[in-house]
Symmetry: D2
Subunit: 337 residues, 4 copies
C-alpha cells in the first residue's frame, strides 16, 4: 500500500501519516520525490483497514499494490484448479460443454433436451428452475418441480446437472437434486447467497455480473472459497456497454486475464452474451480458441416457443452441428471433446 | 408491439406471422412499406409472450411500443405518489434528508450521529447493519445488534430509521426495528429479495443498480408493488461508466426522466455516487435544483476512523453547514426544509 | 512514478530496474515490502518516457503519481482563469449563457434567434456552420456562408459569436468572422485540429469527447494551451453510457472535479447531453447549482423544422421563460445573470 | 419509419401527423392499437428529414426501421467485398496479417522490422508516422520522414505499407508513399478527414472509435464510400468500458455482427485492444476463430525501448512463434496463411 501526498505537503502532514502507520505496528517508508512525497507501508495492510488515510490533510491518494482476494489468487496457488461436477472435470484436458434450456418448462422438454445434447456429445445439463426475470409478469420458473425433472434427466442420461439458485430456499431445495449450483449475473454480488452457496458443499458456477470488474468477480469467488468450498468455476457471459447490436458485450479478454490472475477454471456463455442465435457459433469458436475451459450453450426442442430466451437457443440439429465444428478446433487447442 | 420484416420478406413469411398473431386472438395490422413491411399487433401483447417471433423466417426485429411496468407507470397513475415513513412524507412539499453512517459500528457512534443530524434538521436516520462489501475480509456489519441500536436511536430522537436488508433473514429481523427497508444497488435485481420486501409491509427505498437502465429499475420496483406494497422510493446513487475520477457517475438526468415516466418519489445519494467528501455539497445542490424529492448523505462522528466508506462521509460540522446551504435553495425550488 | 514489482521478484530484476533509472540520471528509492517491493523514481520522470519498464522481468505494474498535463493543472496555477470572448468574461462572477441554433440554416433564422436570445438576456450567440453528422446524407452545414451570417448577427446585436470548426480550412475561415472557436466532442482528440485552434489566437470552447475521461480532456486542453493560447473553456455535454433514456449521460460531477483539478472555466450543455427538450430546464438548474460557469442551450425559431437537433431545441418563448427561472438561482449561487 | 403516439393521443394530433406526412408526398398508414396508435410512413423517409415529428403533440417516439447507411449495407450488396492493397487481397481466402511498429522511429528500426515480419509470413507493413498521443509531451511521430522510410521498406521487401493519417496535410504526403491509409479510432468521426481519405483513391483501413456503435462505424465508412472509394476495410480494436484489466475491451462479437450487416472486410487489432503483450496471442487466436479477415499486430526490434506502446509490442521472435501457431488455425477456418 502506497500513500501519495499532495505536492508541497507539509512536514507535519507527512509526520502524522507516519505516526498512524507506526501506531498500528507497521513500517512507513518515506520517499521524498521531486514533485510529491510517497509513503510505502510495509507489513500487513489489513491492520489499516479501519483507518481512512485518504481524508487526512495533504494526502492525494492511496494506491493498492496487492489484490484483496487471496484464495482465488494465482500468486498464492500457481497450479490451475480442477473442479469435479459429478464425473466431469472442469479445468483439465477436456473442453467441457454445458447445454440445455434457459428455463425448465416441462418434464418432456427437459428429457428430450437431455437426450439430444448427450447424443451430440455435451457433458453437463443446464436448466433454470428459478428464473430471475426483468419483469414480474414474465415466466418465473417451475421451482422445485423443475429441480425434480433435472434429477430425473440425470438418472436417465447420466449427465450431471447444474441449476441457478436465487435464494437460500432455492439452495436448500437444489442440494437435493443437482450436482452444481449456478449463481447468476444479477446475484454476483449477493454476498449472502455466495456464502450460502459456499456452505452447500456443491461446486459453484459463478457468472460475472453485468457491471462487475474482473477484480470484483474474483472477490465474489473469494466469498464462496472462504466458506471452505474451493470448487468454483467462473463463467464469462458478457458485460454491459453502450453497444446494442448484441444484448451484452462478450469480454473475451476476460479468459486470458483470469488465467493470469487466478487458478480457477473459466467457461464462456455465448448464448447470454449475445442474445442472438446466429452469433453463438462464431463466439463459441472464439471462446475455445482463446483458451476457455468450457462453454455453456442454450438449446431447446422448439426455440420459437421457449418461455425464456428463445431467440438465442439452438435447435438440437444446430447444436449437433456446432459440436461437430468445435471438435477439430478443440483438438487443435489440445483439448479433448 | 411491432414486427419489422426483412427487406423482400416472402409473402408466406408475412402470412405465417399473421396467422400466429391471430391464433392468439389478436389482430395483425400489416403496413407494406417501400423498403420493409411492418406488422402492428393490436390487443394484449402478453398473449404473445411465449412466442418468440424474432426467430421466424424473414423477421428483422420486434419493437416494443409499451413499457413492461404498469403499476410504477405514470401513464396509468398520473398523480405523484407520496410515501410515508414514520411521520415523514416523501414525495410531497418537503425536501426529505436522510443521513447517518454508512455502517452502524456501535451504540455510541449511532446515537451521537442521530442527535447531530436531528439538530441539523435531517428527517430520517440511515445506518447499515448488513453491509454488502466487495471483499469478504472487510467489515460486514453488526447485523441484528445494529438494528437494535437503530431502534434505540429512533426512540431517543423520534427520527424514523432506514436500514439496508440483504436477505430474508435480514428482512425478518429488520421489520421488528426499522421504519423503512433499503434494497441496495447490488441487490436491485435480486428479485427474490424484492418480493420479500414487498410482502414486509414496510416502505422500501430501492437503490438503482450500477448497470441498471431506468427501465430495469422501474421493473424492479414493479416486483415490490406487485406484492401489494405501493410504498416505494427510488434512489439514484450513480452508475458505472468508464470515468474513474469519481467512484460512480451520478446520472442526474435520471431525476427528470423518472418524474416523466413514473409517479414514484426519487431521492439522490451523492455520497455513494462520488465516494469523495468534497463533491457531496455541489452534487447535493445539483440534486435539489434538478427536482429530487430528497437526499441521502453519509455522516460520521469521525470519518477518518469509519469502518466503511469513511472518505465520503461528512463530519457533523460539515453536515450542519451543508444543511444551512441547502435551505435557501430548497425554498427557491418550492420545497420545505 | 512508482514501479511495483511482482511478489518474489528476483534480486537481479530489482537491480536491473534500479540501473536503468540511475542510468537516466534519476534516483531509485527501493521499499522492500512484506509482499512486494516497490521502487520510487525521484526526479523528472519524462527522462524515462522512452523506456517501457512494465515489460521487464518481475515488474508487476507502473503507477503514475503525477498528472501528464501541466498548463491546465490547478497545482501549478491555483487561481481560476478568466477567458474573454468579445466583451464577455467566462470564469468570473457572471453566469454566461450561450444560445442559438444547432445549425445555421439561413440569415433570417440566425438573425431572428440572435435578437430573441439577446432580448432574453443571453451573452453569446452559438450556431453551427460546419456540422459533423453521423450520416453523410444529413445536412452538413452552410460553411463559410453560415459564418458570414454569424458575423452579421454580431454586428446587429453586439453579441460575440462562437462556431464549431472541424478542419484547418474551417479555422482559416472562422477566424475572419467569429469570436470563439468550438472544438466538438467528436474532435476532442483530433490533436492536429487542437494545435491549429491553439495557433488561431481565438479563445476555444473545448467539448468533452463521448468516451473521454476527465484526464484525457485536460490533456486535450493542454494541446491548445501549449501553442501559447491559454484561453480555453471546457464544456461538459454528456458521455456515452449504457443508459438510453437520454441521448448521453450528463456527467454533472465533472464540474466539481474540473474545479478541483484545473483552473479552466467549465460550462454545461444540457441540450446535447439529453437530446430532449423537456430535460433542458431541470439540467440547466442542476448545472448552475453545481457551480458551472455558464450554459450552452439550443434555441430555434421553429424547432419542428430545424435541420439539426430540433427535438432538443427550445422555442424563443421557452428560452425566455428558462432565463427568468435561472435568474434567482444564479443570484443564490453568487452569480450575476 | 414508425411514429408511436402517446396513449390517449387526441384525434387531432394523429390527424396533424398524417397531414405532415402526406404533404411530403408520402403515405401514412395508421394502426389504432389497444393502448397506443402507431403510424407507419410508406415511401422515401428522407423527405421527412427536415421535420422533427417527435416534438409534435401526443407523439411518444419515432422508431427507425431501416439503417441510414446504404453503400456499406449488405442488404443492397450481398456479396462480400474484396479490397486490394498492393498485391494483397483482404476479404478473400487469405488471412491477411499486418504488422510493424506502433511508431516509425528510424530507418533502421523500420527496415529491420519489415524484413523480420516478411520472413515470418506477414503480408502488409504497418507503421505510424503521425501519432495521435493523449499528451502533447509524448513523441508525435517522424511525419513525412517516416513515410519515406515506409516507402523504402516496401521497395526493399515488396510488402505493401499502411500508415495512419490525421490531417489533410498527412493525406497529401501519404499518397506519395504508402499503399493504404489508416483512419485511427480517435478520428473515426472526423468526417472531414473521412471525406478526404475517400477522395485520395487509396484503400482505407477504418478503425472503430472507442465509443462508436457498430451503426456509427458503418455510417463513418459510408462517408468514405460516398466519395467513390469502395475500398474500405474495418478494424475492431477495442471499445471503452468500465473494465480496466485491459486497456480497452475487444468487442469480438463485432466481427459476426459486421459480417451480417455489411459486405466490408473486417480485421482485428489485439495489440491496441488490450495494451498487454501477453494477451496478443490468445486474442489473435480468438479473432481468427471468430471469422476475421485479418489481424494487425504490433512488433518492434526492442519493445522495451519503443517510443510508443512498447508494452503491447511483440519481439520478432515472439511474432514468428505466433505466426506458426496461427497457421493451423487459419487452415482449419478455411483461410490461407
Amino acid at each position: 500500500m502506497i500513500i501519495v501526498m499532495k505536492p508541497m505537503a507539509k512536514a507535519e502532514s507527512i509526520e502524522q501519516i507516519k505516526s498512524i502507520i507506526e501506531a498500528k505496528g507497521l513500517e512507513a517508508h518515506i520517499s521524498p520525490g521531486k514533485e510529491v512525497t510517497i509513503i510505502g507501508v510495509i507489513g500487513d495492510r489489513s491492520k489499516l483497514q479501519d483507518q481512512n488515510l485518504e481524508i487526512f490533510e495533504d494526502v492525494d491518494k492511496i494506491v493498492s499494490v496487492t489484490e484483496s482476494y487471496k484464495l482465488a489468487n494465482k500468486k498464492f496457488h500457481p497450479e490451475p484448479s480442477r473442479v469435479k461436477v459429478g464425473n466431469v472435470i472442469i479445468g483439465g484436458d477436456a473442453l467441457v460443454i454445458m447445454s440445455g434450456p434457459c428455463a425448465v418448462e416441462s418434464k418432456e422438454q427437459l428429457l428430450a433436451t437431455a437426450h439430444a445434447i448427450k447424443k451430440a456429445g455435451a457433458h453437463i445439463l443446464r436448466g433454470g428452475a428459478y428464473k430471475p426475470r426483468t419483469s414480474p409478469y414474465a415466466f418465473q420458473g417451475l421451482e422445485e418441480e423443475g429441480l425434480k425433472y433435472m434429477k430425473e434427466a440425470r438418472e436417465e442420461t447420466g449427465l450431471p446437472v447444474v441449476c441457478e439458485v436465487t435464494s437460500l430456499d432455492a439452495i436448500d431445495a437444489a442440494v437435493k437434486y443437482v450436482d452444481m449450483l449456478q449463481i447468476g449475473a444479477r446475484n454476483m454480488q449477493n454476498f449472502y447467497l455466495l456464502k450460502e452457496a459456499g456452505k452447500s458443499g456443491l461446486p459453484v458456477l459463478l457468472k460475472r455480473g453485468l457491471a462487475a470488474t474482473i477484480d470484483e468477480w474474483l472477490n465474489a469467488s473469494e466469498y464462496i472459497i472462504a466458506e471452505g468450498n474451493p470448487n468454483v468455476v467462473l463463467c464469462e457471459r458478457g458485460i454491459r456497454t453502450f453497444e446494442t447490436a448484441t444484448r451484452n458485450t462478450l469480454d473475451i479478454s476476460a479468459v486470458p486475464v483470469i488465467k493470469e490472475k487466478s487458478h480457477l477454471p473459466i467457461i464462456v456463455d455465448p448464448s447470454h452474451a449475445t442474445g442472438v442465435r446466429a452469433y453463438v457459433k462464431p463466439l463459441s469458436m472464439a471462446a475455445v480458441a482463446v483458451g476457455a475451459d468450457g462453454l455453456m450453450i442454450e438449446t431447446h426442442p422448439n426455440p420459437s416457443m421457449a418461455l425464456s430466451d428463445g431467440p438465442q437457443s439452438l435447435t438440437f440439429e444446430q447444436f449437433e452441428k456446432l459440436m461437430k465444428e468445435l471438435t477439430p478446433l478443440a483438438t487443435l487447442m489440445g483439448r479433448k471433446l
